[in-house]
Symmetry: C2
Subunit: 208 residues, 2 copies
Amino acid sequence: MGDQISEQTINRLSLYLRFISELDATGVRAVSSKVLAAQFDLNAALIRKDLSHFGDLGVRGVGYIVKDLKHRLRQILGLNRHLNVAIIGAGNLGLALADYPGFRQEGFRIVALFDSLSTKVGGQSRGGVRIHDIGELDLVTRRERITIAVIAVPAAAAQMVVNTVVQTGIKALLNFSPGTLRVPPEVKLKSVDVTVSLENLAFHLARN
Amino acid sequence: MGDQISEQTINRLSLYLRFISELDATGVRAVSSKVLAAQFDLNAALIRKDLSHFGDLGVRGVGYIVKDLKHRLRQILGLNRHLNVAIIGAGNLGLALADYPGFRQEGFRIVALFDSLSTKVGGQSRGGVRIHDIGELDLVTRRERITIAVIAVPAAAAQMVVNTVVQTGIKALLNFSPGTLRVPPEVKLKSVDVTVSLENLAFHLARN
């Protein structure tokens, strides 16, 4: 198991976890794949298939036990430990991401911002994340046990920054710059492409 | 045609357009599905299938004529006209998005920011996008012919803001708030969920 899990399945596991956590917080004890299907506008069989990759999580006639499923999803997604994240680029986007409240509740900790501008270095985000000089990336990454880097620099600088980050040994990158970036095969790069999402909306507007 | 086009196909069309535009800018005149496949780490047959939804765009023995394909992709994606975009929420994220250079080159125009804080209203982003009072949304939307709204407000306010936006008649929303938001069936909502992307990275880190 593991290798054949699609990116789509992994993304859906995150969505399930979000909803299951809400259910748990409101005291719900069990949930069926039908309820999950209605919530996400998906087929119940698809949801059962997504979850069956990771063993037999359902209980016949009951559905999924909310607390168990939450625990298992967190485990599957590698969220049963804190993950320390660095943000490269302390512009508006980097500062917005540094204080994004969603990260904390999911077990991610933004431990450092990095920038090359001396006027920014030594400052901090509104939420108190300190801005370091990019030259200290290697040092701070080791000290703070950073395993994920978020790339929030202008497109022209992005590939160079990615190369620097990869050299420190960080194996997981979340990229917000437009355009294609290259990483070695052992490094996982996910891109959040705002233009693709906007163009998807434009497509739907053009059709209607 | 149209209804059976998947979201994945639409998203890939955006990526093809990005690369085709780069090829065009560097003077390349024709490109094969094999070259596109290598660029995107996809199967050439999948790329031909994506493009065949929209008529016979390839030329036998030549591949795709770059200028023609670019023109056709822009048309398919509804980018052959300017699309005016409003950003709701003038915090760090809203301000970052307002000045995001990628939007302009793709034909999107950020024409207004909105916020409810009187200390922000009347100000502008670094790039010169003016911040309006959210109470003026209806008026400014009509005046500026806004067709897309970007939701960049805290999660607790998001559903209320979405309802207000939908009431103005805007049919396309790009959401940056975490959590599930409801819109009527005639409205298209795309969510950019940063936590899902980070959890996808966490999954890969946990496996390796």
